[in-house]
Amino acid sequence: MSGCSDCHARGSATLIEFPTSPAAPKAVALIGPPNSGKTTLFNRLTGLRQKVANFPGVTVEQHSGIAMLPDGRAVRIIDLPGVYSLNARSEDEQVAYDVLTGRREDTPKPEAILLVLDSTNLQRHLMLAAPILSLGVPTLIILNMADDLRKRGGRLDLKALAAQLGAPVALVSARQGEGLDEVVDFLAGAMPKPAPKELPVLQDVPKCRQWAGQVGTRARYRPPVAPKWTRRLDSVLLHPAAGPLVFLAVVVLVFQTMFSYATPLHDGLQWLFDISGNWVAKALGPSLLTSLVIDGVWKGVGSVIVFLPQVLLLFLFVGILEDSGYLARAALIADRTMAKVGLQGKSFIPLLSAYACAVPAIMATRTIENKRDRFATIMIAPFMTCSARLAPYTLIILAFIPNRRVLGVFLSTQTAAMLGLYILGFVAAVVTARILKSSILKSGSTPFLLEMPSYRWPTLQSLGMRLLDRAVVFLRRAGTVILLVTVVLWVLAHVPFSHGRPAPIESSVAASIGHAIEPAIKPLGFNWKIGIGLITSLAARETIVSTLGSIYGMEGDEHNAGLQQALHHDLSPGGAVALLVFFAFAMQCISTIAVVRRETGGWKWPALQFAYMSFLAYAGAFVAFHVLG
């Protein structure tokens, strides 16, 4: 029960009389503007009974879940993307419109709509009520953030608002779980069609705003006072001097977490996979099947799952930053720097986290609403030097670059080489972003708009749901695409069998492919052995180290001096530099390809990206070999 005097809240959702015990709807759409707390409400209603998928053919993610009514009936809730209007100018708006009007074959036409609006900014948000009510679908208007409204002295007459809109209205605080009964009552009830007193011409934005203003006035809406804490925090966090310092501290913390704090977890998981694999291998006894299960399936899937801590830690950060409202401020501060390469402030955090791993980084680009900016960010993220590149980099640098001091105590030649590779990847990213943003992903004059939400405490439930959601999306790939690819690569490295035993790697199909591509990679200074490594490292970049290890019959470890020594037989110094350049540019990572396919809704972008990065890798390695060779 809300405490504000003008809210005749009890039973406001049941304002319009209806007959008893109607059938529950099969599907209900949840829609609202960005920052209306729609996702929090969705989590409250559906809990863990959620599914996430992509709407086929588009890049919009579809969240749906089951809400249980008190009498045991189930209602499917479809969470639509956050939109300000239904004008179908963006993909999000198009999908929302198509779902609401039953034009998408993959989604049932919703029998009712839950429209979530921010009660602290009611009059602007009410503009969305006009196109929604005009659909003629039973609608519950949910005024969210009731606690905020109350605390800041805002109020309204719910009965009068419901009468104006001709639809039931519920005052809710999804964060606090307040008023949810009314939502459930609506879902369980008869749900009459809306009968608003009047609706504006939908195409006319000023008229819509005027209508929303009138409705608000007639409902005696008193807007809340400006949020005091948001103003206070912004005066520090957007302060010309203090603001950038806080921003820098956040950036360092994210970077440090992704790199240092996630590493022990990553290594721990790796260790668990290794010993459990060995244990299972012992139990099964040596056989071909054991090798397939352990070296193919177990290690392959394990090589993806070990990145889970990084994915979860990144999304914990993104979750805290986004839910608290700081992400918008960080984007504001980073915007001018990012604008120089044609991107925008919201690209910054994903690109930063790509230094640890491109996979979570690409998943994190969902915070970028502008589709072109988002795609450009996805396209350049794999150029950032991810942690998987460190293994081949370390092996080759230790093997070929003598450790000498340059710049006194500050820098050794080996460190300088590593730093150079980081810079190389960064430059490739910047140049690519510029090319993309001035050609196929040009934004034109589309204005950059960034709403600054009020600061709020992130809730554990919301953070937990977000982590669970991302973990499921990430692990589902490990179980499908990656599993298939690692099994195929295992087969290539083990067939043909002779006397029921797998071939040694140098006479396997992989080796034949290595020999077959040798003419193509010879201009880069690579022979067929390196060729095998390039093929197996398609699964993941670090795989080349263990592959070379098994070719030379040694422990596949980048710090192994014997392996470093053996490499000198197959690589000239020029070839070594060429291999470094190749790894800096090439998209040698199935996980990244799979995640790009998912996030862009098709094969077009990952195919383009793979072709572009492979071309760059080949050309770069060619130049490096011939200049230095």
């Binding site: 900014n121 009059q123 705003r209 912004d234 001018r336 960034l450």
Partner: protein, 89 residues
Amino acid sequence: MQLSGNSRLGERFDASLQDLRRGEAAVLDRIDLPGDDARRLMEMGFLPGTTVTAGLSAPGGDPRVFQVDGSEIALRRETARRVKVRMAK
């Protein structure tokens, strides 16, 4: 045509949101952007006749946050320049 409305308020020829300093307010006159872009801004609250107040900004003053219709929306300089205003005291 640029000199619209109440010239008593001492408005400048062709003033835009970009000319506002922190804390200054003005009444929105028109948006010099193509239809869809202007509508996007209008949906966020940038409607003719609305009072817009300039707020804090990123270091260097770009982008800047504007308080409009109960929300805080950041605009880049290139966009703020296209939103024409009548200066209000």
